[in-house]
Amino acid sequence: MAEQDFEVREHSHAELEVISVVGEIDLATAPQLRTVLDRVLDAGAVSLIVDLSGTTFIDSTALGVLIGAWKRTQNEGRSMSVVASDPRILRVFEITGLTDLFPLHGTLDEAMAS
């Protein structure tokens, strides 16, 4: 049911991969995001931006997937940042202290310029 409105889009910009997530990331949909992140990292993306501008809900499952990808980028000398501006999404990052872990940007342009 949740998957009907869920979509993970990929955009490549040289060695930068932008993964945009539309819809709700929960226990049902998080595996799709994990699959895409694994694939782009396997393909050699040097820099990764996860754009949550179109994301309407995240829970601990979503955070687990993002943390997994972030750990991999750190271990392999790559970079990863997250774009989020919805207060509901930002609040989950703040509650869990992840605002200190991920570079968080308010817009995709800001993330790409950093």
């Binding site: 226990l27 809900f57 829970d59 601990s60 499952t61 955070l63």
Partner: protein
């Protein structure tokens, strides 16, 4: 006067959307403000996820009790009698994140205690409850 709403469903991550919708609707009936509605929606999602993560089979039984200024939610995992499901190793990171989130969003909670590891509960009070 209390209002009790019960919801029973198969363990299926796709159905968490139904749980969130129900939680939000009950929070709205309790006259929670928008932020409190979102808090309860996420907290109940986490309550369910903490019980069904890495599960296969069984049912989830939720009971929402709305009082004048608070909502209580009890969530119980009920294994299939004929085929008790085995649970894969728990993901400690995700469980820790669930606990952090629930702890921040509700007034009281109890996750899977030693006496009944398959039942979790939470209570959220309205911030501006009338006397």
């Amino acid at each position: 006067m209390s209002e009790v709403i019960e919801l029973t469903m198969p363990v299926d991550p796709d159905l968490l959307m139904v749980v969130r919708f129900t939680a939000a609707a009950i929070a709205a009936r309790a006259e929670f403000d928008l932020e409190e509605v979102e808090d309860l929606r996420l907290a109940v999602d986490e309550l369910c996820v903490s019980l069904i993560r890495n599960r296969d089979g069984g049912r989830l039984a939720l009971c929402f009790t709305r009082d004048d200024d608070q909502v209580d939610v009890t969530c119980r995992f009920v294994p299939n009698a004929s085929d008790p499901p085995k649970r894969e190793a728990l993901d400690e990171l995700s469980l820790s994140l669930s606990l952090q989130i629930i702890d921040a969003l509700v007034d009281e909670h109890g996750l899977g205690g030693p006496d009944d590891p398959e039942t979790s509960w939470l209570r959220k009070r309205r911030a501006h409850a009338t006397a």
